[in-house]
């Protein structure tokens, strides 16, 4: 998809509307899901998705293909979200119910109910993480970016991304472990 996206972006830079439309079709769902997880509601997510693509079109001429189009798009989305966070209240933490109410895209990715319950709990724990740990988790695990791409989007070093992910995983592991029974 990366080569396809680069070709479409190049055509869009030359003024090809159809290529730009096809680019929107390729990435709008990922962008909406990204904002939906961060904002917690569909309206804000749709609004931020529109802002993101508006900035994409306005700054498309400056895109020099130093990174992949997906990374560049996530970088714009990250800045849009940060700007939105500065002017709006922090997002409400999603409860387990919220995650349970999310309809699955196609067949359920979880094997059984126990795994689904565990995943919902894990997702809610992620939403409770600090921003510096939560954003790498969203980009790397939810959005599927690599460590290098995550680092480029956040504007930090790859080693920092690794460190923050390690912190997030440690936190999640400590919170998901069952308390050991004390010997009688």
């Amino acid at each position: 998809m990366s080569d396809r996206a680069e070709t479409l972006c190049h055509r869009a830079q030359t003024g090809d509307i159809l290529a730009a439309s096809e680019l929107v079709g390729l990435f709008y769902e990922r962008m909406f899901a990204y904002f939906r997880r961060l904002c917690g509601n569909d309206d804000d997510a749709a609004d931020l998705t529109q802002k993101t693509f508006f900035k994409v079109w306005t700054s498309l001429a400056a895109y020099q293909q130093r990174s992949s189009f997906s990374t560049w798009l996530h970088g714009i989305a990250h800045h849009v979200y940060v700007d939105w966070r500065r002017t709006n209240k922090p997002a409400d933490s999603r409860s387990d119910m919220w995650w349970e109410a999310r309809p699955a895209n196609g067949p359920s990715p979880f094997e059984d109910a126990a795994e689904r319950d565990l995943a919902h709990r894990l997702f809610s724990l992620v939403d409770r993480l600090e921003d510096r740990a939560r954003e790498p988790v969203h980009l790397h695990y939810y959005q599927g970016l690599s460590l290098h791409e995550t680092a480029e989007v956040l504007g930090i070093a790859t080693s920092t991304v690794k460190y923050r992910l390690r912190e997030a995983l440690d936190s999640l592991r400590s919170q998901t472990e069952e308390p050991k029974l004390r010997p009688a």
Partner: protein
């Protein structure tokens, strides 16, 4: 739950579906900028340092060159200004110098005129003194001239004037004959010296004729005796012929090892030049004889009354002494036979030798 399990579950996070109409809304909001020609970004190629720094280096070189040129020109301008100021200060002193120079020239010319006048005056004074000294001498000369005229008149009256002039003529003739004899001796000495020089350069052998000694003889004039009035003197060797020779060449192709052999002889004065270069005048009891063995001529002491009688007869008749007679017509070249040519040294060396009939024996 370990980390791998956590990561696996996180990657399975559900994706919320986009609301209906969002895609159309996004597509309608597409506002692409105007078409812009983008140039692909090429990685910065490694450029050689000189090519990278060439603009700066070239600018620095030009800047330094300009600074150096400006410094040199400024230095030259400063030097010219200094020189100009010096010349201007010097030019201010020119007018007094010109006036002094003109005054000096005027005084110099006046001084020269004064010196010239002084010299002229001194010369005039000297001439006046000379005139004053000469005036009594002129008066004395006038007096002597008058006395001389008186004496001449008195002598004529006494009839002794003819004998006086006759005695003067004889004395003059004798002096002329002595001078010609001395010149003849000189000629023979030069001939002997020339022959010896030629022999010294040619294995001590004398030349066979006069023409072989043209480089050693200074002029052909010395080959004619001054008393031989019938012969003309050749001015140069191109005009030389047998009629211009008075002397007899008696030792052609001989050697200078025998100094008593006669080399040349003047038939008028009886002067003899020997092979050693000496010249002597034959006395009355001497004569020249050719040796029958070596065919050379020698001087022997043998009085010959007949020759003495002939010489005395010649002296009485006024002819010069000796056997040779001047040619009857000096302007015409005489016709010489082989004997005369050999005698006068005009015979080529490769000619067959024939015994010379000695007329003196």
């Amino acid at each position: 739950m370990n980390d791998e399990r956590i990561e696996q579950l996180l990657r399975k996070a559900p994706r919320s579906p986009a609301p209906a109409g969002l895609l159309e809304q996004l597509r309608t909001d597409i506002a692409l900028p105007r078409r812009i020609e983008t140039r692909p970004v090429h990685p910065v190629k490694a450029m050689p340092w000189f090519r990278r720094w060439f603009p700066a280096i070239s600018f620095a070189i030009v800047f330094l060159a300009c600074i150096v040129a400006i410094a040199v020109q400024t230095n030259q301008i400063a030097g010219l200004k200094h020189e100009n100021a010096t010349l201007q200060t010097l030019a201010q002193n020119f007018d007094p110098l010109r006036r002094d120079n003109s005054e000096y020239q005027r005084l110099k010319s006046e001084h020269e005129q004064l010196e010239r006048l002084r010299r002229d005056y001194a010369e005039l004074q000297q001439l006046r003194q000379e005139v004053a000294q000469l005036r009594p001498q002129i008066q004395e000369m006038e007096k002597l001239r008058a006395e001389n005229q008186q004496l001449l008149a008195a002598n004529r009256q006494r009839g002794q004037t003819d004998d006086f002039f006759a005695r003067n003529d004889n004395a003059l003739e004798n002096a002329r004959a002595k001078a010609e004899s001395a010149a003849c001796i000189n000629n023979l000495k030069q001939i002997g010296l020339a022959a010896r020089i030629w022999a010294n350069d040619n294995n001590d052998v004398f030349p066979s004729n006069w023409l072989m000694m043209t480089n050693e003889l200074s002029t052909p004039k010395i080959l004619a005796c001054p008393s031989d009035k019938g012969r003309s003197r050749a001015i140069d060797w191109r005009q030389f012929s047998a009629g211009n020779v008075s002397y007899e060449f008696l030792n052609p192709n001989g050697t200078d090892a025998q100094p008593d052999v006669v080399l040349a002889r003047c038939p008028i004065h009886n002067h003899v030049c020997l092979s050693d270069g000496s010249v002597q005048q034959l006395r009355n009891n001497q004569r020249i004889v050719q040796n029958a063995n070596d065919k050379n001529y020698y001087i022997i002491d043998s009085p010959q009354p007949a020759l003495e009688a002939e010489a005395s007869a010649r002296q009485r008749t006024g002819l010069p002494p000796g056997g040779a007679q001047p040619p009857p017509n000096p302007g015409v070249q005489p016709k010489l036979n082989e004997d005369l040519l050999r005698r006068y040294g005009l015979m080529p060396t490769n000619a067959p030798h024939r015994a010379i009939t000695n007329s003196y024996e």
